[in-house]
């Protein structure tokens, strides 16, 4: 860990001004659960931290609106997971949060910081190894190494590190957007446009500029929330990242036919991954074991395994199928 300067601005405007004046090595800092870790590992070496965790205006949780659920950027994962409306009407959101990390971490970590967390590829987290994401052009130690955790979708020659988060996967399934403020003003970015595939520049993981502050996340109100789930398969029952996960939300017609279907995958892709083909495979049909399996296969079609992670294809298919079963059951209640 290296020395750095620390400022705690008291407004969004001050925060944006502070980051702009602190130079390119400055970072916003919220719960610190990603950033401090990476600083201790020497992967992140910010010259300045701008603390946005105590900006009251960013901590708002408003689930009363008719159009959107609104989550301030610095709302804590634990608080959003415990919101009564989220718990009752959007199990996919609640489950994606409380199945992440641990209660202690969720008490610290913010919902915006969660969007920008970095991969858990072990080679990324230790300076000893070549890693195109950490040191562009240095190579990829995972490619011929222990790539059990790597992605099978959205992979690239330079990097196949899996995106680690859960909540962004659930948000993607629900077509959420983020509102961003920067020196050049305010803009809205869809979740689908927020994260990017590694391509030739795996060090670039999202489409925000370093001086842009996320101020809130908005989730369109949808009846599909009630028929939803976030199913996460991992190496232990808690406190582990996903080997494969699926966020699924559905609505049914009176006759039990799937009317609307949203499916996104975690653990198996280099970014939160929307599975449109899988959605089409079930939409307009009643869910059977066969259609669920077909959706799973459609979701993983085109997957490219490495040395040790081929199992993620079958696991991903099964996870999608099982999540569909749970979501449809909930939608039918």
């Amino acid at each position: 860990m290296r020395s750095f300067t620390y400022t705690a601005p008291t407004s969004v405007a001050d925060a944006v001004a502070a980051i702009a004046s602190a130079g390119p090595q400055a970072r916003f800092f919220a719960g610190g659960t990603t950033l401090f870790d990476l600083m201790k590992l020497g992967v992140e070496r910010p010259s300045a931290l701008v603390d946005v965790s105590r900006l009251g205006e960013l901590e708002v949780i408003d689930t009363s609106g008719d159009d959107h659920l609104v989550f301030g950027a610095s709302a804590r994962m634990a608080d959003v997971a415990a919101d009564p409306v989220v718990l009752r009407d959007y199990p996919v959101l609640a489950e994606s949060l409380w199945r992440a990390a641990s209660q202690q971490l969720r008490n610290m970590a913010t919902v915006a910081g969660n969007l920008l967390q970095r991969t858990r590829c072990p080679y990324f987290r230790d300076e000893l190894y070549p890693c195109n994401k950490r040191r562009p052009g240095s190579g990829c130690a995972a490619r011929d190494g222990i790539d059990r955790g790597s992605a099978v979708l959205g992979t690239g020659d330079a990097c196949s590190a899996a995106f680690a988060g859960d909540w962004p996967v659930a948000l993607l399934a629900l077509d959420a957007v983020v509102d961003v403020v920067g020196p050049r003003g305010e803009r809205t970015v869809t979740l689908a446009d927020l994260h990017v595939e590694p391509g030739d520049t795996p060090d670039r993981e999202h489409s925000l500029a370093p001086d842009e502050l996320i101020v809130r996340i908005r989730v369109p109100v949808t009846p599909a929330g009630r028929g939803s789930t976030y199913l996460k398969i991992r190496d232990r029952e808690s406190y582990a990242f996903a080997l494969a996960s699926a966020a699924v939300a559905v609505t049914l017609t009176g006759g039990g036919v799937v009317e609307e279907c949203r499916i996104a995958l975690g653990g198996v892709a280099t970014r939160p991954w929307r599975a449109y083909a899988a959605e089409r495979a079930v939409t307009g049909r009643p869910l059977s074991a066969e259609t669920a399996r077909a959706a799973g296969e459609a979701a993983l079609a085109g997957a490219r395994p490495g040395n040790l992670n081929a199992f993620k294809i079958e696991l991903g298919e099964r996870t999608v199928a099982e999540a569909l079963r749970i979501a449809v059951e909930r939608a039918g209640r």
Binding site: M1, L128, G145, I233, E237, S238, F311, L315, T319, E322
Partner: protein, 726 residues
């Protein structure tokens, strides 16, 4: 009878008041950190410390000690004191990745850490080997490489001929991964000089070895070294000897004239301390058509380091599981470029049981016999290796009682025949475990006061296993005084010579000494309550102090007491002159495999242990639960990942090394035979802390077979192994 609290230190633990070694913060303490090697084998050609030295707050950077300042402590298994013989910072050789290349001492932990990060080195790397089959890994036959009877291969009868002639044969090869203990308390301590006396506060299971080892390393008298291990926040074998950071700290503290504290980082504890070596175990079992076992051959390859031979002792236990008349063991050691591996809870027995008890399960299926019945039919009261009787052996009762509690009779034997309503695959498995019953010499000091208070100081370390509670309770029960009147001092070289506390023999060793001292000095009858106030008053003083020495059966008293005082191992067993002692256990396990996703869960375990007398029921039951949980982790979760291109361990943190979490743990029913083994010691205790983990993996593996019809040969069994068998 005393009204015993569950644990004498429970309140202090829960409130955070309990003190650990590195909690000590003496005035003007300085903080140390290590810079470490980024190659796994070769030579250092230069270390650049300039940037580190220029950092504000940095007081000292040391890259090399003089040979007359610091020497090797010697390897604990060859008459030394260190977890390995190699002492870093003595020469230019690099023997494993993560080996310290410089010690930094600074005014703050932050400055020390930052300075350590700023240190770079140039190397001449050499090819290195990390796995059993890697090119360059060197395989030795242990019996030839370490020609000492204790490490010889067990052999009884002509096992090869008996196996060849057996109508039913199974041949099982399993492999066990590298694993790490990952105790909550990191390795670290505080070192300070009080005049000419070196005082060390460090969480260790062996303060006697730390004391004597430091004396050897620094060339001073052991009388001038005091080691205090107030409480150990988990050791599990990783803290059973002198760690190589303490000697350098002592020299740094002397140079600076300040106390120095060092706490290794979590990744450093994976690379600078011992761990479970990888091993490969091949077991061939022969039986007659009724399932009577007639031959066993057990061959092992076990990893060790380049610089030390960590002896394998798998066949000592596998030869004693059943009454098999012909047994042959072969233990090989494979040299690789790692720090020296060592004892990790149930070090040999856990994986040996996985191999043996999987093979026994296969014999049961091959002969169409129920796995419990088959085990009962092969039980023995006589040790098949020595021909001596077991001092006690209640395997049959463990199996019977466990089967009853588990509801084993309801089991449908055919694999894949038990399912839940949602298609969940259900498997029930059984296995037994055994662990050698050791004993060691001990010196106990006791002072009894006319207030009725009794202070006991004895060899032993409080590692969370509850030794203070167990001792306090036994003393209180024996004397008929309140448990609150008993003050127990352990882990302190100032109060009594400290022997290694491990291998379950801590309690078994300490208690007889306490008893002997007490009864002899007070001149009270062998049993029954003592009126302490009156008994002390009768001696004519307000307080009496006594010391007593005890040795294990068959131990030559003068030799072992001398070893004890020198901080060397002074252990006897499991073979004693007239008997052989093992602790035993039977585990019954239910696994459930989610049909949709292949997730394996262990909803139910029943474990019945034969550990002699149960010294402290609450801590004993919690020991067993901990052992079972560890068994679940060792079978389904834990592996220290090795990338053969780089060496070291790839997942050296708590979030990446998957020890089980609470959500992985379900119902664990524990029961005890609770029959004192009075041949082994007058209290009748055998060990419990290790045996409780032995056989858990095999019971889970056998349950997985029952659920899926597949045998899993490689631990841990992960979701990708199970998916093809849904």
């Amino acid at each position: 009878m005393s009204t015993a609290p569950a644990r004498v230190d429970a309140r202090a633990k829960v409130t955070g008041a309990l003190r650990y070694g590195a909690d000590r913060a003496p005035e003007s303490v300085a903080y140390a950190a290590f810079a470490v090697a980024t190659i796994a084998r070769g030579r250092i050609t230069g270390v650049d410390t300039e940037a580190a030295l220029n950092l504000p707050g940095v007081r000292l950077v040391i890259t090399r000690f003089d040979p007359d300042e610091l020497t090797s402590p010697g390897f604990i298994m060859t008459g030394g004191y260190g977890f390995q013989s190699l002492q870093p910072l003595l020469d230019d050789r690099i023997a494993y990745r993560g080996q310290p290349i410089a010690l930094v001492v600074a005014d703050t932990p932050l400055a020390a850490t930052e300075a350590a990060e700023l240190i770079t080195a140039a190397y001449e790397p050499e090819p290195a080997a990390f796995t059993l089959d890697a090119p360059g890994a060197e395989t030795l036959v242990q019996a030839q490489a370490i020609p000492i009877p204790m490490f010889a291969d067990t052999a009884v009868g002509d096992a090869d001929a008996a196996f060849a002639a057996a109508p039913v044969q199974v041949d099982v090869e399993v492999s066990g991964p590298n694993q790490h203990q990952v105790p909550m308390e990191l390795i670290g301590g505080v070192v300070e000089w009080h005049g000419d006396t070196l005082v060390v506060h460090e969480g260790t299971q062996n303060s006697g070895a730390v004391q004597n080892g430091l004396a050897r390393q620094l060339g001073i008298s052991p009388d001038r070294v005091q080691v205090i291990s107030p409480s150990v926040g988990g050791g599990f074998g990783q803290k059973n000897s002198l760690q190589p950071h303490i000697g350098p700290l002592a020299i740094a503290a002397r140079r600076l004239g300040r106390p120095v504290k060092l706490v290794l980082t979590r990744p450093q504890t994976f690379h600078q301390a011992s761990f479970r070596p990888a091993s490969r175990q091949r077991v061939r079992l022969g039986a007659d058509s009724s399932g009577r076992l007639v031959a066993a051959i057990h061959e092992i390859d076990q990893q060790t380091s380049r610089h030390d031979l960590f002896p394998a002792m798998y066949t000592e236990v596998s030869s004693r599981f059943y009454g098999i008349g012909a047994f042959r063991g072969l233990q090989r050691l494979v040299r690789t470029d790692v720090q020296t591996p060592g004892y990790m809870r149930a070090p040999f027995e856990h994986i040996a049981a996985y191999a043996m008890e999987s093979a026994v399960d296969e014999i049961a299926y091959a002969t169409g016999r129920d796995p419990v019945e088959l085990r009962l039919a092969n039980d023995t009261a006589v040790d098949p290796v020595s021909g001596l009787p077991f001092s006690s052996r209640h395997v049959a009762e463990c199996l019977r009682r466990g089967a009853e509690r588990f509801g084993w009779a309801e089991r449908s034997p055919r694999p894949r025949s038990m399912r839940g309503p949602d298609g969940t695959l259900i498997g029930w498995g059984v296995a037994i475990g055994a662990y050698p019953g050791s004993a060691a010499a001990a010196i106990a000091r006791m002072s009894a006061h006319d207030t009725g208070t009794v202070e006991v100081a004895v060899a032993g370390h409080e590692m969370g296993q509850g030794i203070r509670t167990a001792i306090a309770r036994l003393v209180a029960d024996d004397l008929g005084i309140e448990i609150a009147a008993v003050k127990v001092g352990v882990g302190d070289t100032r109060s009594a010579p400290q022997h290694l506390t491990a291998g379950s023999w801590g309690t078994a060793t300490a208690l007889p000494a306490v008893h002997a001292a007490l009864r002899d000095r007070l001149g009270v009858p062998r049993t029954g309550p003592v009126d302490m106030r009156a008994a002390v008053a009768a001696t004519g003083g307000s307080r009496i102090e006594i010391e007593a020495t005890s040795v294990a059966r068959g131990q030559p008293a003068d030799v072992v007491v001398d070893r004890l005082r020198k901080g060397l191992l002074a252990i006897a067993g499991p073979e004693y002159p007239e008997f052989v002692t093992f602790s035993h256990i039977a585990h019954f396990v239910e696994v459930r495999i989610e049909a949709a996703t292949g997730r394996v869960r262990v909803p139910r375990v029943v474990s019945v242990a034969d550990c002699g007398r149960v010294a402290s029921p609450v801590t004993a039951a919690s020991q067993v639960r901990g052992g079972v949980i560890w068994g679940i982790g060792a079978t389904l979760r834990e592996q220290s990942l090795v990338d053969p291109r780089y060496g070291g361990f790839l997942n050296p943190t708590m979030e990446e090394y998957p020890i089980p979490v609470s959500a992985d743990v379900h119902r664990i029913d524990v029961d005890f035979i609770d029959e004192p083994d009075l041949l082994l010691n007058p209290v009748g205790v055998k060990g419990l802390g290790e045996v409780c983990m032995v056989g858990v993996s095999a019971a889970i593996g056998n349950a997985l077979f029952h659920a899926t019809g597949a045998r899993f040969r490689r631990l841990p069994v992960r979701i990708e192994d199970v998916l093809p068998h849904l």
